[in-house]
């Protein structure tokens, strides 16, 4: 219960938080572009991760390098999934009330998780070694190398995405679409292509976080679904429309989870890390209804 323990918890929370940031980024991206809160992010990450596991085990069997095969496969899967979602589910739902878009993503999550259970039933899977294991000690603080590496990967992916969003033409089109769909359509941006790209990126982010979680722990649908649910407090704390908010919210959720797990579990008998993110989110939302960096909407009738 001393200071090093506290620092240790905060640091390991930050490392875990990187994964939440990735999941939250996918949700924020889709919300910014199309105004849909994607409840299927956890299930999408499960689908991507299981598919990657399947490819990796195939590649191991025929003795090919599994990492490039996994990455290419994840990209192809992300494109297929994004195309299906955009084409068959979202287009018919344009202009419907928010409950329709919410429920459609939840139903989508159910379909995806049902498919994953159907194709890969039974207990969890173990990834071939992707990231190193073991621990390092800095003074009295010990950290897991796996978590550290996954945090670095998360930050690199996040940084790449921000570069793409700020520097490329497609990123500019995405920002324009997020700002105003009709205006960007009138200057020749194909909004449907932008939606497709957003879902593609979100699916890619989801599956990479799924692979990271799966190689840190075991690849299991329940674990991934729990991560997906806890990405929502991260999104709302940061603000639904804010990309830096997704990063910060994810890190906050990671720290809160580790701290409450470290200090409150003894009092409550375990599981405090599962709900404290929600309680923190409720408290923050009561004082800042739009999160830390969300847009304050001025409504007109």
């Amino acid at each position: 219960m001393d200071f090093t323990y506290f620092i240790q918890l905060v640091l390991s929370g930050l490392l875990i938080g990187g994964i939440y940031s990735l999941l939250a980024l996918g949700i924020v991206l889709i919300f910014k572009a199309s105004g849909i809160l994607n409840f299927a992010q956890g299930d999408m990450s499960a689908m991507g991760a299981f598919f990657a596991w399947y490819l990796a085990s195939l590649a191991l069997r025929i003795e090919l390098p599994y990492l490039p095969i996994m990455i290419v496969g994840m990209c192809i899967l992300a494109f297929v999934v994004a195309f299906m979602i955009e084409h068959f589910m979202l287009r018919p739902l344009i202009g419907q009330p928010i409950i329709a878009s919410l429920m459609s993503t939840i139903a989508l999550g159910m379909v995806i998780s049902g498919l994953v259970t159907f194709i890969w039933p039974g207990p969890g899977r173990v990834f071939p070694p992707l990231i190193p294991t073991g621990g390092i000690n800095i003074g009295d603080i010990s950290l897991s190398v796996g978590n550290l590496v996954s945090f670095v990967i998360c930050m690199i992916v996040f940084g790449l995405f921000v570069l793409f969003f700020q520097k490329t033409k497609l990123g500019l089109a995405m920002r324009g679409t997020a700002e105003d769909q009709q205006l960007s359509q009138s200057v020749g941006i194909k909004v449907t292509i932008i939606f497709l790209a957003c879902w593609f990126i979100a699916m890619l982010l989801a599956s990479s976080s799924g692979v990271l979680i799966g190689s840190l722990q075991m690849l299991d649908r329940g674990t991934l679904a729990a991560y997906g649910v806890k990405a929502f407090p991260a999104v709302l704390i940061g603000g639904l429309e804010s990309i830096p908010g997704a990063l910060l919210g994810g890190l906050i959720i990671g720290v809160v989870e580790m701290l409450s797990g470290g200090y409150l579990d003894k009092l409550l008998g375990g599981g405090a890390g599962e709900i404290m993110p929600f309680i923190v989110m409720l408290i923050i939302l009561i004082f800042l209804p739009h999160g830390l960096f969300g847009y304050k909407r001025i409504e007109r009738i």
């Binding site: 739902l93 409950i99 429920m103 939840i106 159910m110 498919l115 599981g271 709900i275």
Partner: protein, 351 residues
Amino acid sequence: MRRPCGTFDTSYGQDLAITRTRFQWIIAVIAAAFFFCVMPFMAGADILSKVNILAITIIATLGLNILTGYCGQLNFGHAAFVAVGAYISAMLVHHLHWNWLLTVPFAAFGTALIGLIFGLPSLRIKGFYIAVTTLAAFYIIMFIFLRGGDVTGGINGLQLGAIQIGNIAIDDERKYFFLIMIFLVILTFFAKNIVRGRLGRAFIAVRDNDLAAELMGIDIFKYKLIAFAVCSAYAGIAGSLFAAYYGSVSVDQFSFRESIWYIGFIIVGGMGSITGTFFGVIFLKSIEFLVTSVGPSISSALPGLGSQSISSIMLIMFGLVIILFLIFEPRGLYHRWELLKASIRFWPLTY
């Protein structure tokens, strides 16, 4: 809302009436006679048990339809509110040895209070944010029940034992059927009265445009809170009935997926329609009963599928049904029912 040719309202009372024509009265009486005098004595225990579960689910879903369908507030924590009602009843019966019937009002009011607390954020936040706060409510409430120690029974839950009302021990499906049906009829009537009165109109105004509603003098916050309270009171009564019907309460009866099912019921049935609630629950639950009854024989015929595949097929089907309804019939089965009635009335003409 279309009526047969020649039926006119001459007073406001007639305009609001539930049964407007003599034909509807005859149908209502025949249906009531069938449901209360013929069916419980003809049907076997397995059918009655399914009807009982349907009826309790309808009660819970009525509350959600008032909150989501009429007042427009999303609620992803409905299963947790049902659990609150069930646990209040179970705790009073288990620890204090109360009669179950006495615990029902406590379950209703206690759950309404919890619903009010979690409805409070709707003062400041709305839309997606309120949806996620109800999600938070679900996890927080279920966590409290799981970690409640001896008070809530922890992971094992609580036992209620046999239910006794007066001198009658409610011990078989038929007695449960009458008990639940009485609740269902009263609560349906109550829900219908809420939504066709001042309260319901205020709810609809808040749903359609809350700023415009406020400008018209409707206190949005008050009505949102009332909607949350009514919704959770219904959930509480349904939970109390679940506790009595199953004889025990535990955390895994109330999963997050149940919450999604409740929203699915009102989407399939028709949001903002009391009749639609019935359609939605009966339609989706029938599919579920069908799959669970056919499932074991399928998995024994095809042993390669494994036990998880039936539940995963169920998930896929449920998700697809919701997506298809959202795309092709967002107004739900109730709208189809109205169209069907209209086309029957105009038959053989098209309009």
